[in-house]
């Protein structure tokens, strides 16, 4: 059906998908060489929202740089700030109180849930079904309200501090989160019935955009893209950080490697996030939310430090090369979508444009995070 066809030389044309295109969810441009509806060759052109966050990391102190992290990925911002505070705490040797770590885990998982919900809605919209987006946004709104109450922001959070948190959670938040969990479980059932079971939806996703495990490895794909290709990789399990070892949760893995597998991984992940939140709320210890011994102006020792965290999109890494000063000598952000998107050029060759765009949606792109 969508198998590559024999090409006649010189019969192709160039189609610019983007920088403004409904399917690219941001300012991403893909230069496609097309033969009718078939893609012969695709070249992704990046940089339309490049802001040079890495340079900003060099000329600000570590604390000043905190808000920058949430501008990378505006859907799952907390995961990225988590990575930053963890690498500083690792390098400076700051002990974080247990309560703070639990609250971090709960809020990160809530944020992951919000990000996956938004992706779910947008992805179905990419495929032409509009209504699930509204349902997903309604559920997401509950999460944003909760996070707004504790962090003071709805999207670009700056909630974590080196050694703890900016603000403790109150009883309202805990109550709201407890109320939210059964509601979300019900919604997930509804989504399964409305979308996952739909025959058109299944026909469009199954077998589309297959990515092999080897291809994932060569491109460094992580997150749901790798887990949809049969790779059991999640930084929360493989390289445990924060209080994740204390939680009992599973990593959903599917072996088909197609868009449906990636879709199912994310849908299952939402349930796992709910489990983590549930356990976190049950186990939430008392105590301070800020480390007692913490230097006012953080200076890192000379050296090279790395921390990886699992964000909603995959493994996010942050490398700080320090020369002992208040700000980083070099700060590198390894964003997961960058590697996941890189697959696209090779994987979409020979596909039809509508399948390629459905495949692109299944990669869960957030362009500001690719461009940094």
């Amino acid at each position: 059906m969508s198998a590559p066809i024999q090409l006649q030389p010189g019969e192709t044309f160039i189609l610019n998908v983007g920088p403004q295109h409904p399917a690219t969810h941001g300012v991403l441009r893909v230069k496609m060489e097309m033969d009718g509806e078939y893609i012969v060759k695709a070249e992704t052109v990046l940089g339309y929202v490049h802001r040079m966050h890495e340079k900003m990391g060099e000329n600000r102190t570590y604390a000043q740089y905190l808000p920058n992290l949430s501008r990378l990925d505006y859907l799952g911002a907390l995961g990225y700030t988590h990575g930053h505070v963890l690498v500083i705490e690792r390098a400076a040797g700051i002990e974080v109180p247990e309560r703070a770590e639990y609250i971090r885990a709960i809020t990160v998982e809530l944020n992951r849930l919000a990000s996956h919900l938004f992706w779910f809605g947008c992805y179905v919209m990419d495929l032409g079904g509009f209504s699930p987006l509204m349902y997903a946004l309604e559920d997401r709104e509950y999460i944003l309200d909760m996070l707004e109450a504790v962090t003071g922001a709805r999207l670009t959070y700056c909630y974590y501090r080196f050694g703890g948190l900016y603000n403790d959670v109150d009883d309202d938040f805990i109550e709201a989160a407890k109320r939210f969990i059964p509601r979300m479980r019900k919604s997930l059932k509804k989504y399964a019935a409305l979308v996952t079971g739909n025959i058109i939806f299944q026909k469009r996703l199954e077998g589309m955009g297959p990515i092999s495990a080897e291809m994932c490895r060569k491109y460094g794909a992580t997150g749901a893209v790798a887990r949809g290709s049969g790779i059991n990789f999640d930084v929360r399990k493989n390289e445990p950080y924060s209080v994740y070892p204390e939680f009992d949760f599973d990593i959903p893995v599917y072996h088909e490697g197609d868009s449906m597998a990636r879709y199912k991984v994310r849908m299952d992940e939402m349930e796992q996030s709910l489990r983590i939140i549930e356990q976190g709320l049950a186990k939430l210890p008392g105590g301070p939310i800020m480390a007692e011994k913490k230097p006012k102006n953080i200076k890192l020792p000379v050296g090279d430090f790395y921390q990886a965290v699992e964000t909603a999109r995959g493994s996010f890494g942050i490398r700080i090369v320090s020369d002992g000063d208040k700000n980083a000598y070099r700060l590198k952000l390894r964003s997961p979508t960058y590697s996941n998107m890189h697959l696209f050029d090779e994987a979409c060759e020979g596909m039809m444009i509508m399948d390629a765009l459905a495949f692109m949606g299944s990669l869960d792109l957030v362009i500001p995070e690719i461009d940094r």
Partner: protein, 328 residues
Amino acid sequence: MSLTVLNVLVAVVIAIGFAALNAAYLVWAERRGAARIQRRPGPNINGPFGLLQPPLDGIKLMTKQIMIPGGADKILFMVAPVLAMAPAILSFVTIPFSDTIVAHNMDIGLLMIFAFASMGALAVLFAGWGSRNKYSVMASVRAVSQNVSYEIPMLITAITVVMITGSMDLKTITAAQTGGFWNWNIFPSLHSPLMPLSFILFFICSLAETNRAPFDLGEAESELVAGFHTEYGSMGFGLFFMGEYANIVIGASLTTILFLGGWDCPFGLFPGVWWFLLKIYLLIATFIWIRWTFPRTTIYGLLNLSWKILIPLSLFNLLLTAGLLKVF
């Protein structure tokens, strides 16, 4: 003589009025319906229940400047929206709303409607080609192949009904179904036991013929931006939009006439024309419901559905009906 001309003129004006009113208020109904499905209010600011929204939208569209993209084929670009709207309006002329209310009854009414319906594909092709936009060209090629492949099963299914009735006159077809709802063509009869199947085939085809979701590949807004009307603004876009809704009304009317007994009233509570309208608006509500529930199919999925499933089924149905008509 002049009286006949006047009659026709009045009929055409009424047909245009009906088509335009329907097109405008179906947009409103669609938006309200979508909002209902998506648990949001929808247009509710202008007038009671937002009922003034369509005329205001119309004013906005009409006062906007018509932009013709550089390098576009001006004639085709301007002709296309008119060609999308005009056949849809003309089709109304021959539709019998009740046994007395019909603008101009014809012996070949069904054939005429299909002839006009196939002009819609031409409008899409003109629009896509005239725009000189790659997305538009791709969309129009898709839409044309879609229209061609869905007209075949649609016509074959219609022929089945024509064979039973023995007429192409829409009024005669409806009249043959009167006298109790069990006479409607949707229910299996001695001559054609597969009538419910034909109804479903015809319904699917009319969805595809009107380029409605889940078969809206000509628009496919997440892939081809806005498909064949990407470059259209102002009333050019407005005419395409109205043409789409007028086509939906035609499709629903045709389904009602062929399968649901037209103006025939099962209980006779109120005059036939109301029953006719009730039936078409129920069908249109189903159209809207489907659009906001299903994701879009793929172009090859769509063509496979037509050539591999719908056409063989409708041909089988045709042969069966022909055989049974001969036997009984």
